[in-house]
Symmetry: none
Subunit: 419 residues, 2 copies
Amino acid sequence: MTPAAVVVSVGDELLAGRVLDTNAHWIASVLRARGVPLVRRVTVPDERGAIAEAVRDALRRAPIVVVGGGLGPTLDDLTRDGLADAFGVSIRRDAVLADALAARTRARGRPVTESTLRQADLPEGCVALENPVGTAPAILREHDGTLVLAVAGVPIEFRTLIERHLLPRIDAWPGRARAPRTDSVTLCGIPEAEIGEALADLMVRDRDPSIGSYPRLGNVTLVVTSTASEDDEARRRVEGDVAEIRRRFSASSLAPGRALPAEAVAAAAVAAGATIAVAESLTAGLVASLLVDVPGASAYFRGGVVAYADAVKERELDVPASVLAAHGAVSEAVVRAMAEGVRRRFGTTHGLATTGVAGPGADRGVPEGTVWIAVADASATVAVTFRFGGGREQIRGLAAGRAVDLLRRQLAGLPPTAP
Amino acid sequence: MTPAAVVVSVGDELLAGRVLDTNAHWIASVLRARGVPLVRRVTVPDERGAIAEAVRDALRRAPIVVVGGGLGPTLDDLTRDGLADAFGVSIRRDAVLADALAARTRARGRPVTESTLRQADLPEGCVALENPVGTAPAILREHDGTLVLAVAGVPIEFRTLIERHLLPRIDAWPGRARAPRTDSVTLCGIPEAEIGEALADLMVRDRDPSIGSYPRLGNVTLVVTSTASEDDEARRRVEGDVAEIRRRFSASSLAPGRALPAEAVAAAAVAAGATIAVAESLTAGLVASLLVDVPGASAYFRGGVVAYADAVKERELDVPASVLAAHGAVSEAVVRAMAEGVRRRFGTTHGLATTGVAGPGADRGVPEGTVWIAVADASATVAVTFRFGGGREQIRGLAAGRAVDLLRRQLAGLPPTAP
C-alpha cells in the first residue's frame, strides 16, 4: 500500500490546552519531507475506549499509524490497553522487559513499583522497542501491510523514538513515493484575496503543482509542490510556477525560498553598501527588531531611535516643533522629518521611519490604524500611508512589516507599494 | 444537552507541519475555563469530503463544533462547501454580505473580485457573523440543540471571532455546568524545573486544585484550577494555593491574573510618577516593544535608542570610547554607561539598557548568550548578567523579558534577581 499516515495524540492535557502539541507538528514536517502524506491528526482523551476507536479508525484511513502519549507509568496512561482493544487481543507482561525496567530503576536508586512494571505490559502480537531517553519502551505492531507505532509523548522521547524506530521503516517501505518537489515564494504587501484572484488559473484544485498560501505580518508565502512521478518533470513544474508567480508579482516577490523581507533587505543593503537607521513611533522597536532577526545585521544596521513621545521626536530626531504643531505627530510631514532626521543623526545612507495610531481608539482626531511610513536616502524621501485594522497588536505588527517592505523596495529601486 | 465541544482544524498546512496549530490549543484552555470539556480535536486536509465527514462525526460526539480555517478567499478554502455537504444543503451567495464585502474592499482602495465575493457564500440555514479583524465572516448554524461555528484560521481572527461569537453563546448554554474556579500567578525569571521542584507538594496528580505551568519568554504562568462542587470551597482552595505560591516566590511573582511584567511596570511607573527610556543593543527594540504592548504606555514611556553599532553607543548614549575600548561592548561598564546615558539624554527618572551576544557564535571572544542588563535611576545603577542558550531568537527574547523584569523589580523596590 502506498504509505500515508495518521497521527493519534493521546492526553487530557492536550485537550485541556495545558500542553501545546508540538509532536504532531514536528512529525508532520518529517513525514512530508519523506513524501509520506499525513492524512489526519486526531487528539483523544486518556480513555481506553477513545484510544481504541481512534486507532481502528486511523487504520481504515492509512497503513501507518503513530500514537503519541499515554505510555507512562501512571494509572491514567491507557495507550497499552487502548491498543489491545483496537487489535482485539489481550495484554501480557513481558518478563525480560520487566527485569530490564527493574534493573534500570534500581540503578537510579529508585524503588521498583507496580507503576514501573506496568511499562512492561504489551498487547499480544506487539513488540517493545528500546527507548534510550526514557523508561517507557515504544510499542510496535506490524500486521498485514500496516504499521502501528506507539511512543511516549514527552517531546524528546517522541522525536528520538520516531527517528530511531519509524523513519528507517518508512524509508524501507515498499512502493514509497519520492518526496514531492517543493519551493516557496513570499509576496510582500499584497492582500491574500488579491493574490488568489491573480493566480486563480494556477490555484486550481487537483492541479499539479499545487499552490498553498500562508499569510503572516502582511506578507503571504506561496508554497508550490509537485508530486509528478518523474523528478525532472516535478522540478520543471515547480520552477515554472515559481517563475510565473514572480513574473506576475515582480516587485512584490522575494527570491524563492526566502520568507522574510528583512533577508531581502540584508542582501540588497550588503550589495549596495547601504547602511540603515530607523526612527519608530507606534512600532516602538518592532522594525529594528525585525531587521535584526537576520544574523549578520550589524554589517548594515546601525540602530535607531524609539521616539514614542513628541519631545523625543524633536530632541533626538530634529523634527521641528512647528511641524509637529502644524501637522500633528501622525502626518506625512512628521514621518518625513523623522526619516531624514535619523538618517542625518546616524550618518547612514538610509533612514526609515514610522508614526501612527495603534489604539485602542483615535488619538487627537486621527483614527486608530492610521500609519505613515517613510524612507529617506541621499536623493529623496518617499512616504506612504496605510489604514490597518485588527487592534493594537495587529496594527503595530502590520506597520512594522510594511516598513521593512518599503525599505526593501527602496533599496531594490522598486516602486514603494504594490500596484 | 450538557455542553461539550469538538474542534476541527482545516488545512493542508497543518498536516504538512508548515504551521503550528495554536488555535486549537488556545480554544482548549478557553473552553476549559468555562467548564466545557473538549472531547476531541481533529485536523483534516483542505478537502471538501474530509471536512464534511469530520463535521458530521463531531456532531455525533458533542453539541458544540468549532471549525477553524478554510474560510479565506482562495479556491483551496473549502470549509463553506464542506459545511454544506455536512448539513445536506446547498450554498447561496448572501447579497447583503457581498455588498458589504465589496464596499469594505473598495474603501481600502482595492479591486473587488470574485475571490472577495466568495466569502459571502453561505450554506443554507447558516448565518454570517461579523469579522471585525478580517474579511471572511464567521459562519454559524444553530440547529436542534447543536451549534456549529466556522471561523477563519488566522490566529488573531480565530481568537477575536471565538470571543465575540462563541463564548457568549456558551455562557448562555442551558444546563451548563458551573465553570471551575481558576486564577493564575506569573513568576518572572525562575526556570520551570525549579518551580516544579519548589511546588512538588502542590503539583500532585488528582489533587484539587490542579496547577498547570506555562513558560513564555523567561516567565512561567501557573494556572490554579479547582473543580470543587461548592463554589465557596473552590474559591477558598484556589485562593489558598495562589497565596502559598506567592509566599514561596514573593519578589518574583506578579499580582494574580497579571500575565505580563510590562503590566506590572505600567502600574508601578504610574504609581511612582516614573518615566522610562531604554537603550538596546542585542535586543534592538524588543524591550521597547514589550513595554509598549501595554495600552497607555505613553503616560510613562518616552522612547529610547537602539544602539546596535558601537559608534551609536558613543554618539547617542555618550558611552565613552575609552570604556568601549577597555571593556568591550558586552560588559558591565558599557551597560551601566548605556543606562545612565539614555536616562540623561531623555530626561527620564529611569534608564534601562541591554547589551549582549545573540549569536550565532561568539563575538570578539564573548560567548554567545552572554547578556548584560542595567537600570539607572537618580540614586544608583544596578547591573545583572545572564548566560542564555537556545539560539539567536531565544536569546534576544529572554534578554528582553529579563530586562523588563529587572525594571519591574527596581520600580517596586525589590532585589534585582530571584534568589
